[in-house]
């Protein structure tokens, strides 16, 4: 802190001297050193009289362009963020041409100050801005900052910006170095500039140096584009996995219920909505009753809330409706669809159409794994969550008494009943558990979208398809099917568009069912029905 302060003072001192020399306005410069010093020390309130240095800068441009340019150059080279308020003030009072001239200076100085700031994201965006401003003076700043930088991707952006700035310079050797450096960095942003160099070098009157540069640029472009193919592939893969995990979280509860009772719960989407609204309510309660420092914990608290509320709704649904429709899967579908309509409208009437949940700070932002591939934290979280969910479900199904009973009833209901398993109870608990899973899915979905009454409808048909394609009785089928459908969705989307991608998937599912009419993993038995 102290060190920075000292540098600043000496900088401004030098600025004052150079200004004096280059402008030759000794009187005014004297006023700079006299007035600017104390004003700066006092924290430079904007309302104080403009210090003479900036006054000079503001006055001179109105007389002579060359003088103005020189003055601005000096300000750029020697100035720092402390003179920004005064520059702003001059800008506010000046006419248009001067405003235009001062604007880039302000931007440069601002971003230079940000390069040394404590926040890596701010440093990175400052580096990007400096690159697009196109002022070669920024090259040494960026290189110095990059040398000190500890964060890999911030350093990457600094070097990229520096190289981009070098491209627009005059020095052939530096340009060649920059072209190669950009190739090494596989910088997507550099492709247009590099293409310009290639066209400049391919002309008939191109000099030898230009041609050499063009060749190097061509090689760099090729490297960048190869890399881009890979990074797009990886990003598509990630998006596919992300969608798949959303589908998986949504359909796994559905699939367990379907496997056990042979009914598709059409209100599953609305149970998700219930989970999402439970999350929203938890957030509101935290806002209302707990200090702001606790706010980020609401999301963790909301998870059991979402699970319990949705499970309770599911239990209620089972006891009041579904219990009476056993053995009639189509009727159950219709009744649960009716319930979904009622729930959706109830949410619409009570909550209104749009409410959003603020993701906690630790889930915003993302992770850059390689050049051009950025993975948002909320998506990563959902992938992790779906993995954990599946693990938990496996643990429950294969390591607990309830799981054993569930598996027994799934395989042969009548035989299980004969052996003393309370099948109705197992049904009720499983239905509640599956509904709770829907609640967790709703909780997770608040991270990627708004909380709205139609939330459940967005993916629900897709997750029905997952269940049907996966088949009953084995969780593996659901996992594979959600991977397949989610992955295909994202794979087809870039080339066919979202709608025709869906058409394509429906056709594929129908064709798939030609081959496996009861899904990937059907329970083998000797029923005449199957």
């Amino acid at each position: 802190m102290k060190k920075v302060h000292v540098t600043r003072l000496s900088c401004s001192g030098v600025a004052a001297i150079v200004t004096r020399l280059s402008l030759g306005l000794l009187v005014l410069a004297g006023m700079v050193s006299l007035v600017a010093g104390p004003a700066r020390a006092a924290g430079a309130p904007p309302s104080a009289a403009p210090p003479p240095l900036e006054q000079a800068l503001a006055q001179i441009p109105s007389e002579d362009d060359a003088v103005r340019e020189a003055a601005l150059r000096v300000v750029i080279e020697q100035g720092d963020s402390t003179i920004l308020p005064r520059l702003e003030e001059i800008r506010a009072n000046a006419d248009r041409s001067i405003r235009l001239a001062i604007k880039p200076v302000i931007d440069l100085l601002k971003n230079r100050a940000k390069l040394e700031g404590p926040d890596p994201d701010a440093r990175r965006s400052a580096a990007t801005d400096l690159g697009t401003l196109g002022k070669p003076v920024a090259i040494p700043w960026l290189e110095q900052a990059a040398a000190k930088e500890t964060y890999k991707w911030v350093r990457y952006t600094m070097l990229e910006s520096a190289a981009l700035l070098k491209l627009s310079g005059e020095d052939q050797a530096a340009k060649l170095g920059a072209v190669n450096a950009l190739g090494d960095l596989t910088s997507q942003n550099a492709v247009p500039a590099l293409k310009d160099i290639v066209t400049a070098g391919s002309g008939a009157e191109a000099t030898e140096a230009q041609q050499a540069l063009a060749n190097a640029a061509g090689a760099s472009i090729e490297r960048i584009e190869t890399w881009a193919v890979w990074s797009t592939a990886i990003e598509t893969l990630f998006r596919g996995i992300s969608l798949s995990s959303i589908l998986l979280i949504m359909s796994v509860g559905l699939a367990i219920i379907f496997g056990l009772m042979g009914v598709i719960n059409m209100a599953h989407g609305e149970l998700m909505m219930v989970g999402a609204y439970a999350t929203f309510m938890t957030q509101e309660l935290f806002k209302a009753f707990l200090p702001a420092t606790m706010f980020d914990y609401y999301f963790a608290v909301a998870m059991p809330m979402a699970f319990l509320v949705a499970a309770a709704c599911g239990m209620l649904l089972e006891v009041t409706v579904i219990r009476f429709l056993y053995g009639r899967p189509l009727e159950t579908m219709l009744a649960t669809w009716g319930i979904s309509l009622v729930l959706m409208q109830a949410a619409r009437v009570y909550f209104g159409d749009l409410t959003a949940v603020a993701a906690p700070a630790w889930l915003s932002g993302g992770l850059q794994v390689m050049v051009g591939v950025y993975l948002p934290n909320n998506r990563l979280f959902i992938i992790l969550l779906s993995f954990l969910c599946v693990m938990t479900i496996y643990a429950i199904l294969f390591r607990s008494g309830l799981g054993l009973r569930v598996r027994a009833v799934t395989q042969n209901r009548n035989m299980s009943a004969c052996l003393g398993i309370p099948t109705r109870k197992v049904d009720a608990y499983t239905f509640a558990f599956g509904s709770g899973l829907a609640g967790i899915a709703g909780w997770a979905l608040t991270l990627v979208g708004n909380v709205e009454p139609g939330l459940g409808q967005n993916y629900i048909v897709d997750s029905f398809m997952v269940v049907v394609t996966g088949g009953v009785g084995k969780l593996a089928g659901t996992i594979v099917a959600s991977m397949g459908i989610g992955g295909l969705n994202k794979l087809l989307e870039p080339s066919l568009g979202a709608v025709y991608g869906k058409v394509c998937i429906l056709v594929l599912v129908i064709l798939f069912l030609q081959w496996r009419p009861s899904g990937l993993f059907a329970i083998k038995g000797r029923h005449a029905d199957s």
Binding site: E331, A335, G338, I339, S340, L341, F464, Y500, I510
Partner: protein, 392 residues
């Protein structure tokens, strides 16, 4: 285990052989009475009494009733496939939409230069900067081809879809899900602008049909009469199908498909047949719907509209043709009255209907009527008779 319950619903139906002569005459009577009311009395009440008379039926009411009767044709189709054959199709709205769009395209083309932009092309194409009429629109200049298309396009589509679905023995919940996905996908596709079907706004602003102005009450009256006649025809067709030997196989498929297989039949062929007939009826309904309502949008063919058809049939009484007609008319009548006064309440009522009908009244209105009859000890001899006779 699953089938024993369903037999309960089907039991009255399988007693067809026990019909006596008198019962057959009764069926005829109710049919003719209903036909007379719909075909003669209602248009007369529209035309004859002065407008302030309490007997007068407004143009609007008649037109609205025409729409309900078009829906009734749609419901008859669904009743064939769901009520009689036990195959729940949640994509019936798609076939309705195909028929409606075929007729809508013809009506769109007959607007001609009367359109807002004064172009030969439909307005939305001018909007979307389509320069030339797409090839698949061209046949719809001709009215006969449009009518043919409205019947054949859904039929052909159902033939392909049904063939694939039934051949691989997709059934029950699986079939319902697949058809629901079909409805979703169709909705998505019809919403797109580049399919040149009007996008979200659909086809609308029709002016004339075969030279008759659609805004004229007379034209609408004629369309109403046509709808009644088509409904009558569709009813008789369904009646004939369900009473034929094939109809008995359909009911048998519903009650126990494995036994039908063991008896040497191929259920897939019967299901495909009835699925195609249902699609053709849906196409016919859509064709009649469009000129009466004056608009067709993708919102009519999505997941929810397709499901609503099911609730019409369920409310009226599945497995009875009269029930399908009664359900379609009464639910839609209730809907248009209630959405007028309590717009926020309708989804609750619709949802509640799904639950209540399925849980408490599996035989719908027809079932309630039958129970009431039994309770009052009237017509004791008919306690086990066919449900169709109630309304005829």
């Amino acid at each position: 285990m699953l089938n024993t319950r369903e037999i309960r619903n089907g039991a009255p139906m399988s007693d067809q052989d026990s019909l006596s002569q008198r019962q057959t005459r009764d069926i005829g009577l109710t049919f003719w009475v209903t036909g007379f009311v719909l075909l003669v009395l209602m248009p007369l009440l529209n035309v004859l009494p002065p407008e302030d008379s309490w007997l007068h039926l407004s143009d609007f009411s008649l037109n609205r009733f025409g729409k309900f009767l078009a829906f009734a044709i749609l419901a008859l189709g669904l009743d064939l496939i769901w009520g009689y054959t036990g195959v729940l199709s949640l994509g019936q709205g798609v076939f309705f939409g195909l028929g409606a769009y075929c007729m809508g395209m013809h009506l769109m083309l007959t607007i001609g230069k009367e359109s807002v932009y004064g172009s030969d092309l439909p307005d939305f194409m001018v909007w979307n900067q389509v320069k030339e009429l797409p090839l698949f629109w061209k046949p719809f200049y001709s009215f006969p081809l449009a009518v043919l298309g409205a019947m054949l396009v859904p039929t052909a589509f159902a033939l392909v879809f049904g063939f694939l679905a039934f051949r691989s023995r997709i059934k029950g919940v699986y079939f319902a899900i697949i058809t629901q996905a079909l409805a979703l996908v169709a909705w998505l596709v019809f919403n797109r602008n580049e399919t040149n079907l009007g996008g979200t706004n659909g086809l609308t602003d029709f002016k004339q049909l075969l030279g008759f102005r659609l805004s004229e009450p007379g034209t609408q009256r004629a369309l109403y009469v046509l709808t009644v006649l088509c409904l009558g025809g569709a009813y008789l067709l369904c009646r004939w199908i369900t009473r034929s030997r094939a109809g008995r196989v359909l009911i048998a498929v519903r009650d126990s498909e494995p036994r039908v297989v063991f008896s040497g039949y191929t259920p897939a062929n019967y299901k495909l047949f009835v699925f195609v007939v249902a699609a053709a009826l849906a196409g016919l309904a859509g064709m009649l719907y469009v000129p009466q309502v004056g608009i067709i949008t993708p919102a009519q063919i999505g997941v929810l509209p397709s499901l609503e058809i099911v609730i019409w049939v369920a409310v009226g009484g599945r497995g009875t043709l009269a029930g399908a007609v009664l359900g379609a008319v009464s639910v839609n009548l209730g809907r248009s009255v209630l959405t007028n006064y309590f717009p926020e309440l309708w989804p609750f009522i619709l949802g509640g209907l799904f639950v209540v009908v399925v849980l408490l009244f599996p035989d719908g209105l027809i079932g309630i009527m039958r129970q009431a009859r039994e309770r009052f000890g009237q017509l004791k001899a008919k306690a086990t008779a066919l449900p169709e006779e109630e309304l005829g």
